[in-house]
Symmetry: C2
């Protein structure tokens, strides 16, 4: 192959002495996934939008400022308490647009179907996507269908891409957080991951945990409309709250201090985590996000977030200090401080 | 599930007495795929953009007219003579934008990777995508990575979605073709399908057939710039030339007459088709398209198409009559007429 661009090296940037082959953790949201994205995709594709490392790319067309994003969904099983792959595929992409401060408008849907999937199952999932799209006020306007041989898929994978429009003058990005900012969360963490895991493994807990999967654009629009000065938004998907905050701390170079006592975890999730040996801070959510605002705007932000159905229990869980460490630390319930990092392995595969 | 919309039925629109489960032909571009799209996805999602049945959706944002499209790529094997899944994933989506008359600008890329794929393979494919993106003057600005367990994928599936902009006043659509129009093709047919099939099955033919995979936006922009009155464009992917023309005839309600003698097929493809029992009219291409223009503009159109590297052998292969049959007929080399229809089974799985 001729060199497509002199700035791009031709040799694989991940040495064979590292992981030579893809492992599950490359999709888990932790350290290996970040390495893969930075060393393979960002180095090959190289452009400012990718380097912004946001949930979506801001693109300017004519006089309009749009956001463009994509996610594939490979959750197993296809149906889980509180949702299914179709609902997830709509909300996940809607939420990525919302986290860039965009009003979600249009989605595409690409289906990779394994031979043998009952058509009735596909219909149920398509209906669920329609229902989710209506709820999020987006339209699924274009699509594609591929079929792969039995044993070369897992029922159904869905990709959605989304286009939204930015209708305000804020630049919402991890690099915009400032010392003194507080981070608000719109509810308790860990429901989605535990719901999917329990369904897949056949665990049953005393309280049935349902996924928190929900569209977050309304909440974000209310927050922006509240005139709180929104610096950064991030939804807490793969890798959970911990990973999201670590990413933001790294990008901003600032120090984020979590107050563990303030982080809402429901009894059911807490119990399941204790039994299974998981840390709720790393469990995926599909309807939770953090918003960074100046402390002076904290009450305004909480009020706006609480006014949405997805955020009745919104609360401040962390603050940004003026230390230039790029680290996240957690003050535990018993008062001890520890550094919070990304996971290097995979805690819970295929939850989205 | 509550009814998301009173206009949508809740029962699966494909009866169990038909195919109750997905078969490979549901992804083959023929009759079953069309049934699946119309009865499942179009009925569930219901909106004018989908009902336009175009290669992409035209969306208006602010004062801009954009096109949004998506395709997943599941080609097997990942590398084939003349291309690879990465190059295909860029060109395929670029071409869908071009067929709507849009200038391609931005792509997203979603990777579903099977555990065990060598990272070096992923790097090669990412580089190939970059090279294809540079050639097509598009940027890959956002992406996603998922990993599935060994045995639940086939190395790598890629989804790309694309955004382009319409900078002219033409409305290019199958419904716009008119009696008296001629259809020009930009070269010989069948190379991509035969190249992939030969590589996968280990066939070797006297002449090695390479895929025709190429970006078509430059050719389309030259065609539009020529001031030929472009009525409809369609790239000849799954289902080949025959299926593309059948779709256009159905949508327009007009009769399209193909002159078989005029359809370019190279000796190698012709020979391979004879040995394997395929009809080149149904073989997938990834760098070929048809353009419908009024007969008076035929020479102008051919000149523009021939001026691009993808179209040196552009030629007129069909014409639209004033019969309102919605059918395609073919005048064979020996002068006989026959009706051309979509395939009901699957001729060649997983070629894109």
């Amino acid at each position: 192959m001729s060199n497509p661009n002199k700035n791009i090296q031709l040799n694989c940037p991940i040495r064979k002495s590292d992981y030579p082959n893809i492992v599950m953790a490359h999709g888990g949201g932790g350290r290996l996934m970040h390495q893969l994205i930075e060393k393979i995709f960002m180095r090959a594709f190289q452009n400012p939008q990718l380097e912004a490392k946001h949930d979506g790319a801001t693109i300017e067309i004519g006089k309009g400022k749009l956001v463009f994003t994509t996610d594939s969904y490979v959750v197993s099983p296809l149906f889980f308490p509180g949702g299914d792959i179709g609902m997830l595929a709509v909300n996940g992409t809607v939420n990525d647009l919302a986290m860039c401060g965009a009003l979600p408008l249009y989605l595409s849907a690409g289906f990779i179907i394994e031979e043998g999937l009952p058509i009735e199952t596909l219909w149920k999932i398509a209906l669920s996507m329609r229902q989710a799209a209506d709820k999020a006020s987006v339209k699924i306007v274009t699509g594609d269908t591929k079929v792969v041989d039995k044993g070369k898929g897992d029922g159904l994978y869905i990709n959605t891409a989304g286009v939204g429009v930015i209708e305000h003058h804020l630049y919402i990005h991890p690099s915009k957080i400032k010392p003194g900012d507080v981070a608000a969360i719109n509810g308790d963490i860990g429901r989605h991951g535990i719901a999917v895991m329990a369904e897949r493994e056949g665990f049953s807990f005393e309280t049935k945990i349902e996924s928190d999967c929900a569209p977050l654009a309304d909440s974000v629009m209310k927050l922006i409309g509240s005139t709180a000065e929104v610096h950064c938004l991030r939804d807490l998907t793969r890798g959970g709250l911990a990973t999201a905050l670590v990413e933001i701390a790294k990008t901003s170079g600032l120090h984020i201090k979590i107050n563990e006592k303030a982080v809402p975890v429901c009894e059911g999730v807490q119990g399941a985590c204790e039994i299974l040996g998981f840390d709720p801070m790393y469990i995926a959510n599909e309807g939770r996000y953090v918003a960074f605002v100046p402390e002076k705007d904290a009450e305004k932000a909480l009020k706006a977030m609480r006014s949405d159905t997805t955020g009745a229990d919104s609360v401040i869980i962390a603050r940004v200090t003026d230390q230039k460490s790029g680290l996240v630390t957690l003050k535990s319930r018993i008062g001890a401080q520890r550094i919070v990092d990304m996971l290097s392995g995979e805690q819970m595969p295929r939850i989205c």
